[in-house]
């Protein structure tokens, strides 16, 4: 009798410990996010003003700004979008609509899965060897955007494939029944239907790209850029590199600038995510 009671008490206690532990874990995850964002906001707000957005980097913290890096990031993102969107969508369409189950296509699938797990710094090294020195593009915006394209292509392909796969087969069969060719079905039925989903996936992939520092460091290096790149062959820097540069300087003022830079980066990221979620939700209502 006594023993059974003890046993029940132990079981109840264990249950409470497990629940307490998992609640604590959730709390820790959410708390860390709050502190990470709060820390950057508190440190960065005093330095975050119009002058910060419109100035070039400087040795004097009170005059320094993020303009060159912001422009560089925009250059990289625009070129990366131009390269990666058509390539990613074509690859996804091929793999979902055309590819037969043969050895080459299995190899392609395996490859995409593996590429998604390659560390971003390795893409930086690839870009350095292949684009900067191999194709002699130099440490240019173009070399940076091509590197970034290879980095996010697997992500775009995976997202686009999911979107294409979610289109009911009846849509395609209806079009075939009317005598459409495979390309006509793909162009007029599959692509328009999958477009919002593909767009959402692409924007999310690009928002990851805009925060990437490591591969861009390998391409652009730590350079003192006091200009807005005027062409794809100009040198450049991006926001994460500028933030890294400021963090590594010892003076407290530069830490503040780094935090302000983080705020600009987060604002850009959040707006991209907001657009992506908006497109997704709007599309979901229509379906």
């Amino acid at each position: 009798m006594e023993k059974a009671k003890d046993n029940r008490r132990t079981r109840e206690l264990t249950g409470k410990i497990i629940l307490g532990f998992s609640l604590l874990s959730i709390g820790l995850s959410i708390l860390s996010l709050a502190i990470i964002l709060g820390d950057a906001i508190i440190d960065g707000l005093p330095y975050f003003d119009l002058q910060f957005i419109t100035s070039y980097p400087s040795r004097f913290p009170e005059k320094a700004g993020i303009l060159a890096a912001l422009a560089g990031s925009i250059w990289i993102i625009v070129l990366t979008t131009l390269f990666s969107f058509p390539l990613g969508v074509s690859a996804a369409i091929y793999l979902e609509e055309y590819a037969e189950h043969n050895r080459i296509n299995r190899l392609i699938n395996l490859n995409i899965a593996n590429l998604a797990g390659v560390p971003s710094i390795v893409y930086g090294i690839l870009g350095l060897g292949l684009f900067v020195d191999g194709l002699r593009l130099g440490r240019s915006v173009l070399a940076g955007a091509m590197t970034m394209t290879l980095l996010i292509l697997p992500v775009i392909i995976i997202a686009a494939r999911e979107s294409i796969r979610s289109i009911p087969r009846e849509y395609r069969e209806g079009a075939y029944a009317l005598g459409a060719t495979k390309w006509e079905v793909t162009r007029d039925i599959v692509f328009p239907q999958a477009f919002p989903g593909i767009l959402t996936g692409t924007i999310l992939a690009l928002s990851r790209a805009i925060g990437e520092a490591a591969p861009m460091l390998a391409i652009a290096a730590l350079v003192y850029v006091r200009f807005v790149p005027s062409g794809p062959l100009d040198r450049f820097t991006v926001m994460p590199i500028q933030i890294y540069n400021w963090v590594s300087l010892p003076q407290a003022e530069f830490r503040g600038l780094a935090a302000a830079g983080i705020l600009v980066l987060l604002v850009v990221l959040l707006s991209m995510n907001f657009v992506a979620v908006y497109i997704r939700n709007k599309h979901q209502v229509r379906m």
Partner: protein
């Protein structure tokens, strides 16, 4: 008028075009391997592989130069281990709560928050490690220097929590409900079902999530570059300044090492080592995931 033959030709051309975009992924892999091996080969003409693998010092920037990869590998390992000590318990606790306890409404709030945590740029994590976590740690360990493995490891752990939790939760959700119901019918309590039935059934999926998180930690660059220091050292003391493989690559990249110099080639030899390591870890992780999903 378009004949049938014409249109069949166009169709085939389009298929070829689409296929070539898909083949770009194969090209990327080959290019990574090609560039790494080609440049690393030049490096290994100057430095013997034996020295690379067995020398206990890595001092390519000073004389006497030493090219032993071990200190960089040990630095990477040390930070990875610390990050797992944070991410595995917290990530699994989160996954158990989400899959077994959380009401649907709460889950819909918590999951996006975890996704945001996963989407924070790594340079922001680095800033957080150096300016927030390190000063706190210095109060606890007064002898600790500013750049250290502990702070970088802890913050990297926070970064990989969402990876561990989301993949583990997927694995736990995939455990069929009849297993849970069977246990309840035998009088099991909720936590007993969670631990003895769900956790155990999902175990290989959980292991896979941890292994993929390890691969993420090995390849992470900015947190360690900002917070862990740049002193390649063969040590397992978390309070010391160390350097990881990724940290070294960043350090050399900053200085624009001239093409063809030995310094330039070290980037590729370290990069090749990093790539091989991550590749092996990924293959193990993906194998386990596939085996797990075949189970149910």
């Amino acid at each position: 008028m378009k004949t049938e033959k014409d249109s069949r030709g166009t169709e085939r051309l389009i298929e070829r075009l689409l296929q070539s975009s898909a083949l770009l992924s194969v090209f990327t892999t080959l290019a990574i391997l090609g560039v790494l091996i080609f440049q690393a080969a030049d490096f290994f003409l100057e430095v013997s592989i034996i020295e690379f693998l067995t020398d206990r010092r890595w001092t390519p920037l000073f004389t006497p130069q030493h090219f032993g990869i071990m200190p960089l590998v040990s630095g990477t390992l040390l930070v990875t281990i610390i990050s797992l000590l944070v991410a595995v318990p917290v990530g699994l606790g989160t996954a158990i709560y989400l899959s077994e306890y959380a009401p649907d409404r709460l889950r819909r709030i918590i999951k996006p928050i975890l996704e945001v945590l996963a989407g924070v740029p790594t340079v922001v994590y680095g800033y957080f490690a150096l300016t927030f976590v390190t000063p706190i740690l210095q109060v606890i360990f007064p002898e600790m220097i500013v750049f250290n493995a502990l702070s970088a490891g802890i913050v990297m752990g926070v970064m990989i929590i969402p990876m561990v939790s989301s993949l583990s939760e997927d694995a736990m959700l995939a455990v069929p409900n009849y297993l849970r119901e069977g246990a309840y019918a035998l009088g099991a309590k909720k936590h007993e079902v969670a631990l003895h039935i769900v956790f155990r059934s999902a175990f290989s999926g959980i292991v896979a999530s941890i292994i993929l998180a390890i691969s993420r930690a090995i390849g992470e660059t900015m947190i360690v570059s900002i917070a862990a220091g740049s002193t390649p050292r063969l040590t397992m003391n978390p309070l010391e300044s160390i350097q990881t493989m990724t940290g070294f690559i960043t350090q050399i990249s900053l200085g624009e090492a001239p093409y063809g110099s030995l310094e330039y080639q070290t980037i590729f030899s370290v990069g090749l080592t990093l790539f091989i390591l991550v590749f092996v870890v990924n293959i193990i992780g993906n194998y386990l995931i596939q085996r797990y999903w075949r189970q149910y």
